[in-house]
Amino acid sequence: MKRLLAFIQKEVWHILRDFRTLVVVFGLPVIQVLIFGFAIRNEVENVPVVFCDKSGDAVTQAVISKVLAGGNFVYAGNISREEAAVEVFRRGEAKAAVVFGSDFGKRYHGGESPQVQFLIDASDPNTATTIRNYLTGILKGFLKQKQEEKGLQNPMLMVPEVRMLYNESLSSAKLFVPGILVVILLVVSAMITSLSLTREKEIGTMEVLLASPLRPWTIILGKLAPYLLISFFNACVILALGFVVFNVPVKGSLGLLFAESLLFVLVALALGVFLSTTSRSQQEALMKSLFALLMPSILLSGFLFPIANMPLPLQALSTLMPARWFIVILRAIMLQGTGIEAFWQETLILAAMAVLLVAASIKKFKIRLEE
């Protein structure tokens, strides 16, 4: 125990003196969160839109001003025929065209379903989908208002009311902050432990440690403990950033969130230790943490792409990703505000991963020099 404490103290000295690594460990996550939060968004703003108003009455005018009112769209002119939209798109002057049927106003007043067409430039499918959702929403809202005024029960005018629960405005920060928290924590944590262990191999101090009576578990726990604190602090910084800058809420228990983050950080650190037992140099450890952790965690954790849509082998692979389970937990606590009863299975899986990884690392730890 005294040896373990001495080892931990030594690690703390290393950490505090390595200013550059500290900057990377704490600076990188902050920069990443800001980039993801600000630059990568699903919301669209100021989309240029043209109108083809074949009806040309007060009703279509009302719809047009409603479309332009929200700030999502800006007026980019009128076209006489819908075919002209293609030209406008090609010249890059507009991304969407709204085409009203010739008797839009008449049908509207007569209680019939008026005809309207959206032409959207889908060369960027994600933006196109968002534009469609916005336009449909605006139009449906308009028609629904009319329906209620007249008390009509015309089935043609029936509009489903959709609410996006937990993220009403579909804000991308709410999607990204938990995802980024997970991926950054995983990679940074795994990287610092694996680098710190392989560094000892590179500079030769591992040879002296091996020739001493230190046991593998002392070395491994001595590496884990100080970095657990650092990574946990890192998690808090990212969470605070999400809350302050992007208004990502924490609806559930804050204590539970911290406890689960600590568990996840432990898994990530143990993963780093495990990687380092199979690496001889810092470079090898770095490559392994980047390729074996970063890409799979982004692609297979359900952070960006829904797991249910993946082919079965990839779904199976995704169950091995600690990030997958932690994202479920995070979304549940932060956005849904549910308690442990909703994700005790995921918690158990993470706990099992932590225990297994630490045990495997101690077992795989080489008690002699590698030849």
């Binding site: 005294k2 040896r3 404490l5 001495a6 080892f7 103290q9 030594k10 000295w13 290393h14 003196r17 390595d18 500079i203 030769g204 101090t205 040879e207 002296v208 440690l209 091996l210 020739a211 001493s212 009576p213 230190l214 008690i367 002699r368 020099l369 030849e371």
Partner: protein
């Protein structure tokens, strides 16, 4: 005779096709300063690592402080002090922090064994707050020795501790080793410097993984089987070339300011050699008989 603290028998170690250590056997007594002498790549580091339980021999047996480094490595590791060939302390920690860390690793403290390391520690103490990485080569080695001694080991394994160290520090370092002997510690030390060989109690000359000979250094130099002649002239390189061309030459090599020359067996005739060289018009030619050193013995055994 004292207790045998290190015993190696028929040690073999291969790296792929390279035979790094070939049937090496030796014994080191309590309080003995034992030198492994040989050039780079002779297999010294491999021998140290096998003694320190860091690599496994392919065959042969080892006992260090009474334990087998293969099976009882934990017992061995508690009883040895090991200094690898490369400086292997934490460069970003201060002198004091390094000492403190290694003391705790061995479950002891500086004050507990202060009497043993006092000599050495006093020399590095003025730099106690300096980072180990910022020390001079000699100071680094003294610090490493201090860390290796902190737990009062029975066997001290020092792999080329004076390589890259200035001559004054080298001398001080060897004086420290001499004092350690008196505390009953067995010291195994390797060096590529032949002049340091003479400071050991016994030495093993190693070449290409094989021990050529084990004996006290003076006995090794006494047993030099030939007459040794030291030559000097203004044109040293031409002299060396001419000596090598001389029909009765056994060997000729540069050594400091002289060229060491050995005649073939039974052909020793310095007068004839002098005539031969004078015929070649060397200026300031000097020929005198010399006392063989360990290096001469090494060269003789090697050829």
């Amino acid at each position: 005779m004292g207790k045998i603290n290190v015993k190696a028998e028929g040690l073999e170690k291969n790296y792929g096709k390279v035979q790094a250590v070939r049937s090496v056997s030796f014994e080191v007594e309590e309080g003995e300063l034992f030198g492994l002498i040989g050039p780079d790549g002779a297999g010294k580091t491999s021998i140290f690592r096998m003694l320190a339980s860091l690599i496994l021999p392919d065959s042969g047996t080892v006992r260090v402080a009474g334990f087998d480094p293969v099976k009882q490595y934990q017992d061995v590791r508690r009883r040895i002090g090991y200094m690898p060939g490369r400086f292997s302390l934490y460069q970003d920690l201060s002198v004091e922090e390094n000492v403190q860390f290694f003391a705790s690793v061995f479950g002891t403290s500086l004050s507990e064994n202060y009497e043993l390391v006092a000599d050495i520690y006093r020399q590095i103490e003025p730099f106690r707050d300096r980072k180990a990485g910022a020390l001079s080569g000699g100071m680094k080695q003294k610090l490493a020795l201090c860390c290796a001694l902190i737990h009062k080991p029975e066997v001290l394994l020092l792999d080329e501790p004076t390589t890259g160290v200035d001559p004054v520090s080298r001398k001080e370092f060897w004086q420290m080793l001499k004092r350690l002997k008196t505390k009953g510690i067995s010291v195994v030390v390797s060096t590529p410097y032949m002049d340091e060989a003479g400071l050991c109690d016994r030495i093993a000359l190693i070449q290409k993984g094989k021990i050529l000979r084990i004996d006290a250094p003076e006995r090794i130099s006494e047993s030099f089987p030939f007459g040794l002649w030291l030559l000097r002239a203004r044109e040293m390189f031409a002299l060396l070339t001419s000596l090598r061309k001389y029909p009765h030459a056994q060997s000729a090599y540069s050594f400091g300011e002289d060229i060491h020359f050995v005649f073939q067996k039974g052909k020793e005739n310095p007068e004839a050699l002098k005539e031969y060289l004078q015929g070649l018009a060397f200026k300031d030619l000097e020929i005198r008989e010399g006392k063989p050193t360990i290096e001469d013995c090494f060269m003789a055994m090697d050829s």
